[in-house]
């Protein structure tokens, strides 16, 4: 049976590129890369790396950004879920925040930059009546040396991710029952959640938190848009070295990628220490016996943080749309003095190719990922054994090993194997990132499927195949399409993988948008970032509309 192929295929796809990539990074980091004349092992690349000015600062920036992002994002998620789950407001906020997951990082970062820059929307709204500013103030907000705006940009994008992962895990930890129990003991909502639910919940979402740390410590696109430039975080510098016209700099880039691996590992190690610390503090609090019932401030702070984040990203995206049609728009005007379609007219002829590549790559990688995921899950049904911890680790592997560390080596590996840099290799590279998200979002609904439907069909003498194709798959159409939309969004948002594996010859909407960010032309950025956000939204629209049409005459199949 073909489903048998699913798990080995998934393992190959997830671990193969990561391991090949790491090998392709480690060898040149020690001087071995025959294609460039490096035939013996040497420490020279490491020495060159250590001689780079400002290296320590770049490393510290990467570390600090990763840990701060994880701490703040997780705290907000805890406060919000602890304080509000089970209430009506919780559901409403969820509707507000979940779409943010599909907004590509770069688009959210641009929106944030347009909002908080000294000449951005917030300053415009307050000027000159409140601030007295007739000219934008000379404040270093975007690209600040402490990377605060970069951290903020990451936080607003990581919270939706952590929140959705948490929600997926909640049903398995009996939140409502625990809440009833802790309430009967007199605990406040947050304390009850922290003492009763959190320990079990955290062990379920721990890998996702690791992914957030790994991602933030090695992110490139957000760092290029919002991060410091004197010097930039480590990952940005690695990409610069990897693209240097002087081919000898590739050894330096490999050494840098290896250092990146170390930096991410160090960030995770620090996190493990923080976990223990937090555990000790929680124990102490629990043993104090206090019930912590006065928590209104904390609860509302969690809610407010969520609302602010959704509003920030939303306002940022609206700003992008306005800039794309803006004529002259000077400070402190709140709206452009004139509107024009000329930016779109100029961009449209040039956008066809990037758009085509984005669509082709996104659809292909999503299709393959969904197919393999379905094979794996079907196999799971047949064997009756769901993947355990090991399988979960495997899924998270590409999300935890920093992109910059293994993509560089993967590029060299593809080259050495003669695979080159065409669409197939790009799809393969995207698949590494699309697969985990598709699997994570589909496995929940798949396993929660009410098997009594299948039992009835089997009792009527239907074959396994018929049951799968006539009962399970149609009934799971909605989650399957949603998982596909998630996968498509992930593919559209891929920056580093596209730039490195596509060798610059396969531009997508995202790579074009980030490249144009360098040009600083807000109108053109607006056009590309708007498209970048439109594509995932279109994917989710399909995932909502198609089942609605198909099931329009089946009341029980409609969305709740």
């Amino acid at each position: 049976m073909i489903a048998r192929l699913g798990p080995p295929l998934a393992i190959l796809l997830l671990t193969g590129p990561v391991l090949c990539g790491l090998a392709g990074t480690i060898l040149p980091a020690f001087g071995y890369l025959p294609a460039l004349g490096g035939t013996r092992f040497t420490l020279a690349p490491m020495r060159d790396l250590l001689a780079e000015p400002g290296l320590v600062r770049s490393v510290l920036t990467s570390l600090a950004v990763a840990l701060t992002t994880a701490i703040i994002a997780l705290t907000i998620v805890i406060l919000f879920v602890a304080g509000w789950s089970g209430t009506r407001i919780f559901g409403r906020i969820l509707h507000l925040v979940s779409p943010l997951l599909s907004v590509p990082h770069a688009a959210a970062a641009f929106g944030l930059a347009f909002l908080i820059a000294p000449s951005g929307m917030i300053a415009r709204l307050l000027s000159p009546w409140l601030t007295g500013w007739r000219q934008p103030p000379d404040l270093l907000i975007v690209n600040d040396p402490l990377a605060l705006s970069m951290t903020a940009g990451l936080i607003v994008k990581e919270i939706p991710f952590l929140l959705l992962v948490t929600l997926a895990a909640l049903p398995q930890v009996k939140r409502a029952e625990t809440r009833a129990l802790t309430a009967s003991l007199g605990y406040g909502r947050i304390a009850g959640f922290l003492f009763g639910v959190w320990p079990r919940l955290y062990s379920q979402i721990r890998l996702a938190v690791f992914a957030v740390i790994a991602f933030s410590s090695s992110v490139v696109d957000v760092a290029q848009i919002l991060g410091p430039t004197l010097p930039p975080p480590l990952a940005v510098r690695i990409v610069g070295w990897a693209n240097d016209p002087d081919l000898a700099r590739h050894f330096l880039a490999a050494a840098g990628a290896l250092l990146q691996l170390g930096v991410t590992a160090l960030a995770l190690l620090v996190w493990l220490l923080l976990e223990r610390l937090a555990g000790a503090v929680t124990r102490r609090l629990r043993q104090s016996g206090r019930r912590w019932r006065r928590e209104a401030v904390l609860r509302h702070a969690g809610l407010a943080a969520m609302v602010v984040i959704a509003a920030t990203v939303g306002a940022g995206l609206a700003l992008l749309a306005i800039w794309s049609v803006a004529g002259l728009w000077q400070f402190p005007e709140t709206l452009p003095g004139s509107f024009t379609t000329s930016t779109w007219m100029q961009a449209v002829p040039q956008i066809a190719r990037p758009l085509g590549i984005t669509l082709a790559c996104g659809l292909l990688s999503t299709l393959i990922a969904v197919a393999i995921t379905l094979l794996c899950l079907t196999r799971e049904l047949q064997t009756g054994r769901p993947g355990g911890r090991g399988a979960l680790m495997l899924l998270y592997l590409p999300l935890i090993v920093p992109e910059a560390a293994f993509l560089f080596g993967l590029q060299i590996f593809f080259l050495a194997s003669g695979a080159g840099s065409g669409l197939p290799t790009l799809v393969l590279a995207h698949l590494v990132f699309v697969m985990p998200y598709v699997f994570l979002s589909l496995s929940g609904p798949w396993r929660a499927f009410d098997r009594r439907h299948e039992a009835v069909a089997a009792g009527l003498g239907k074959s396994r195949r018929t049951i799968l194709f006539r009962i399970r798959l149609p009934m799971l159409l909605r989650p399957i399409l949603t998982a596909a939309a998630v996968g498509f969004a992930v593919s559209v948002g891929q920056y580093l993988a596209t730039v490195m594996i596509g060798a610059g010859r396969l531009p997508t909407v995202t790579t074009e948008a980030v490249a144009l960010a360098a040009g600083g032309n807000r109108r053109v950025i607006g056009v590309y970032a708007f498209l970048q956000m439109l594509l995932p939204a279109a994917g989710f629209a399909v995932a909502i509309i198609v089942p609605a049409l198909l099931f329009r005459r089946r009341r029980a199949m409609r969305a709740g």
């Binding site: 000449s119 016209p245 081919l247 728009w329 960010a517 360098a518 600083g520």
Partner: protein, 418 residues
């Protein structure tokens, strides 16, 4: 202004190694005998049906649209198909040609015509990567070229051109200000003046972060003005001349830093970023290498129509940008026809129109006939563009090795924070 985009690299390693691999599989096809531009009808005959890959910096929509127009005309008139290969950085194409040469691919190369000048030309000439002997001065339209009063047409960043590249357009460093905010009487007249102006207007001036092309140009302008003996800049740099010549430059930059936008803790990424900051009212003086740039930006609603230009009376940097043919180009005849078409009065006049591109011509008005001169007279240069006679003296570009050395020093001193 060849290469303003060095910010985001998009041309990794794989691309440059492809020729190595390709060389193993592709035997170079036999090509027609060498082409002699003096025999123009033969060139036209050979060019018909060829496809010319034109590698050009693709970071500006105006320029891309202009090349698209030229491609349409070439197909209509000469049966030559033009494909623009948009580069993020001209050095990428140079690196590709180097790789092709290393792999022994001496025929049928991937680049037919390349937009180039300065350090990239110097490096290609030094490594014998250019089609020769000199062909540029044998093109039919060379007769219109103003090489007498524009010395940079025959000397590119101190390197003799020797007809190995054909001039395409002129560049001159000009500054822009907004007369609604800045009184023209207070404008600086030299780099020293600019420092004084910045100290009176803290936070209102900056320059793009080197190695961005415009940022490096600003450093070279200051260097050229402050160097005790300008003649050293015309020779390759060495440690002795560098420490002596660069000392006043870095003293200047140290003095300027506290008065820069954001106190020099961040720099604009490149020229378009500076332009946006001027539109936002964050910068009062910006600069570009194309005198018509501000008029174009006003036309497109990116700058207010009160922006005007000025230069330094004692001179600002000027150079010429060119097109060149790699030694291993597959479509040399087609490339020659395109280079000649780009020099034609019709194409040059269209290029100078700020609504199209606004790039100044390399032709001499006195050499044109009445009809062609009228094409140029008809161009409205725009409110913010200085007339050719108002642009001030042209300072020569330093030898290409200076730029690289200064960029390295800049990064060490200012590029890594405090």
């Amino acid at each position: 202004m060849l290469n303003p985009a060095s910010g985001i690299p998009t041309e990794p390693f794989v691309r440059r190694l492809i020729p190595f691999l390709a060389a193993f599989f592709l035997a170079g096809p036999a090509l027609a005998a060498d082409i002699d531009p003096a025999n123009w009808s033969d060139v036209l005959a050979k060019a018909r049906g060829e496809t010319v890959y034109f590698d050009a910096w693709g970071g500006s929509q105006n320029v891309n649209a202009y090349i698209e127009w030229a491609g349409g005309e070439m197909l209509k008139r000469y049966g030559v198909k033009i494909v623009e290969v948009k580069l993020a950085d001209t050095a990428d194409a140079v690196a590709r040609i180097v790789a092709e040469k290393t792999a022994g691919k001496d025929k049928g190369g991937s680049v037919d015509l390349i937009w180039i000048n300065g350090e990239n030309f110097a490096s290609m000439k030094r490594r014998h990567l250019l089609f020769g002997p000199g062909w540029a001065e044998k093109l039919p339209n060379w007769k219109y070229v103003d090489f007498e009063t524009k010395p940079t047409i025959r000397t590119d960043f101190t390197i003799p051109v020797d007809g190995l590249e054909s001039p395409w357009g002129m560049a001159k460093l000009v500054f822009f200000y907004d007369q609604a905010r800045t009184d023209p009487a207070t404008l600086p007249k030299s780099a020293k003046d600019l420092l004084a102006w910045a100290s009176e207007h803290p936070g209102r001036f900056s320059y793009p972060q080197p190695p961005d092309f415009m940022g490096s140009t600003f450093l070279k302008q200051v260097l050229s003005e402050l160097v005790p003996d300008p003649s050293v800049l015309q020779k390759p740099v060495n440690e002795a001349t560098f420490s002596q010549a660069a000392e006043p430059l870095f003293a200047y930059l140290d003095a300027l830093k506290p008065y820069l936008w954001r106190h020099g803790e961040a720099y604009p990424k490149n020229y378009p970023a500076m332009k946006q900051l001027m539109a936002d009212g964050e910068l009062d003086i910006i600069f570009a290498f194309n005198p018509a740039e501000a008029s174009g930006a006003i036309e497109q609603g990116q700058l207010p129509d009160t922006v005007r230009s000025f230069t330094f009376p004692s001179g600002t940097l000027a150079n010429t940008h060119f097109v060149a043919i790699p030694y291993n180009a597959a479509a040399k005849a087609g490339a020659l026809v395109l280079a000649n078409f780009l020099l034609s009065p019709e194409a040059q006049a269209r290029k100078q129109d700020p609504k199209i591109w606004g790039d100044p011509t390399v032709l001499a008005m006195s050499k044109l006939d009445a009809e062609d001169r009228a094409r140029f007279d008809a161009i409205d240069l725009g409110v913010a563009t200085l007339k050719p006679n108002e642009l001030g003296p042209a300072l020569p570009e330093p030898h290409p090795s200076w730029m690289e050395r200064i960029e390295r020093e800049w990064k060490k001193r200012y590029g890594v924070g405090n």
